[in-house]
Amino acid sequence: MRARRERAARERVAARALEGSLLSLAALLGNTVKDADGHDIGALRDVVVQWTAEISYPAVSGIVIRSGERDVLINSRWLEFSAPGTVRLHSTRAYARAVKRGSGTVALAHDVLDHQVVDSGGAQIVRPADVYLATVGGRVELVGIEVGVHALLRRLGPKRLRGRIRPQRVIDWASVDGFAPRPGVDAPTPRSRSRFAGRPGAGIELRARAADVRPLRPSEVETALKRKGTAQDREPA
């Protein structure tokens, strides 16, 4: 009983410590994006990553903002993210493009947040209440999805508390196999991982069976992030 309480306290500390290093999609969404001069350029609608077969942690390739009446895509090279939920342009001369879905494109708010997570057998197990990103080696990567209930309450609560990121139960994005079509639809083989992203009824498919899925606790997220950071540092540039 006492060991359990101590463990819970340790996890709370770890969760607080992560507030400074994790970016939360839920905290980012809807925020006004400003350019280097402080001019508003639009509200953030989505964060886009490019996910191909070889990568475990896809990097952010851009953001979608609503500018006037239409949605435009801004490439990540103009962007500067800071935890837990701010993004700004570090230039006044960024180019915006029309939003188009290419191969490998995954729009995190549209395709991942609130969508079903299925196990390797296709059984629906949970829905992500938040999506976490982290800056690793100079680029922003998709690192995991939050499946705890606290994140859901945080999103329902008042807006000023939305930046209080406290990871609870996180599924490592590296354990995601790809997007699965709705049951009854045959997937062509070999299929690209992001092919069914954004389709109605599509699921985020894990590699393991539901019984073997064990979401990470905050302290484990912390360790994993540290390890990732050092691995990146050792890699020759």
Binding site: D114, V126, P128, V149, R182, P200
Partner: protein, 426 residues
């Protein structure tokens, strides 16, 4: 796909040894199947007492209204089963994915309130049924609560469900009772094809109750999930649509006969005050046993619905939250599911135990459902209008217009009556 399926089912029929008439009946039941069961399950305490009250208070006048409601019901249920077949997800899941989280949470809160109201009326139905047998509701309702919780959580739900469904079949006696009561068929026909509305508050309130009890929000969630559970896909959707439309129409035909039977027996005597009055309408069929027969049917239907309605809230809310949901899970594995289920059951039983007229309580909870129905139907309509959800199966322009009119009319009526009711408080 259907060409592959057809020979197999044909073979199964040929090898069966049952007599031809039985095969025909079974075949018919298989076709009517889930739709009919769902439709008859819709005839719960709330349904029966509201239809009976309509007949008692306004005679045949509400018949045309019920025809209109049937059209709306067919339109709504077709959208729901199409959503299930084309996306493979229940309404709760679709609402979570397609709407902002707060709108989704609002929808779930409304569903919870509507279903809590229904659960109250089911427990009131249990109490009222047993009062006909001379047992006090203060004894029956707590016993029913414990029995329902025990059977669903620890026992065999499916067996209990079958027993209750069979008991509920008593209400299929209403059409016969309606015929034997020699109603004024000319008046019935004219009221079915031509509106005879009254601009009184009582009539409008009853209209909302009729909408609430016929197009119940929980039924739409239940239907969509049932379609998904059956594994209906776009390719097999056609026969499912037939089922859905049939079920909606059949259920309402029974409802129309309840109104006719009650109107013929006690029409124009004012609002229904007691269950034995409603039972009187079955006298042409059952004679002196009418009261017992009615109580028996009401007990079965109410017990079943008292389990099904909170279960449907629990499924929908757990589905939206993305947490485990199934009666086959252990209590600890599905806390949200069992939590919602238990809380709703307890609220239902507790409110039904408050002193007051049970029939009035039942009809008032149908009015509450009637207020909430159009809000939740709007979510369904928006989903079925989205090409990104349904692809080519999205509502076409004509269907879209009809569906919008249906939801709009229901909405305007409910909003009007709600405003009038609230204004009446001051």
């Amino acid at each position: 796909m259907s060409t592959v399926d057809a020979p197999t089912s044909g073979q199964a029929t040929r090898t069966a040894r049952s007599p031809r008439w039985l095969r025909r009946v079974l075949g018919l039941l298989a076709v009517l199947g889930p739709g009919l069961i769902a439709a008859n399950a819709g005839n719960d305490a709330g349904g029966i007492l509201t239809y009976a009250s309509a007949g008692a208070q306004f005679g045949y006048r509400t018949l045309f209204l019920l025809v209109l409601i049937t059209v709306a019901l067919v339109v709504v249920q077709e959208m729901c089963s199409r959503l299930g077949a084309y996306t493979g997800e229940g309404l709760g899941a679709l609402i979570r994915e397609q709407f902002p989280l707060r709108s989704g949470a609002a929808a779930m809160a409304l569903l919870f309130v509507a279903n809590a109201g229904l659960t109250v009326s089911e427990f009131a139905g249990v109490g009222a049924a047993m009062e006909l047998f001379g047992v006090s509701r203060y004894v029956v309702i707590p016993v029913a609560l414990a029995a329902i919780w025990g059977v669903t959580v620890m026992g065999s739900y499916s067996r209990a469900e079958r027993v209750c469904l069979l008991m509920g079949l008593v209400f299929l006696a209403y059409p016969l009772a309606a015929v034997l009561a020699h109603p004024h068929w000319g008046a019935v026909a004219s009221n079915l094809v031509w509106p005879h509305f009254l601009h009184t508050k009582a009539f409008l309130l009853l209209a909302v109750a009729l909408i609430g009890t016929t197009i119940t929000p929980y039924m739409q969630f239940y239907l969509t999930s049932a379609v998904v559970d059956k594994g209906v896909t776009p390719r097999t959707y056609k026969s499912e649509r037939f089922d859905t439309v049939n079920g909606a129409i059949l259920g309402d035909v029974v409802s129309i006969f309840i109104i006719i039977a009650t109107a013929a027996a006690i029409g124009g005597t004012g609002p229904l005050r007691s269950v034995s009055q409603a039972a009187g309408a079955l006298r042409p069929v059952a004679g002196a046993a009418a009261s017992q027969l009615f109580a028996f049917g009401l007990l079965g239907a109410s017990l079943l619905a008292a389990a099904v309605v909170p279960l449907s809230s629990a499924y929908a809310i757990a589905e939206t939250a993305g947490s485990p949901r199934s009666l086959s899970r252990k209590l600890r594995e599905a806390p949200v599911f069992y939590g919602v289920y238990t809380v709703q059951l307890v609220i239902g039983a507790a409110v039904a135990l408050l002193p007051g007229n049970l029939v009035e309580l039942v009809i008032n909870s149908q009015v509450l459902n009637g207020f909430i129905t159009p809000v939740l139907l709007t979510y369904v309509l928006i989903l079925a209008n989205r090409r990104s959800v349904l692809g080519d199966a999205v509502n076409g322009p004509v269907f879209r217009a009809i569906a919008t009119v249906c939801v709009g009319v229901v909405g305007v009526l409910s909003a009007g009556v709600l405003a009038q009711t609230v204004a009446g408080w001051f």
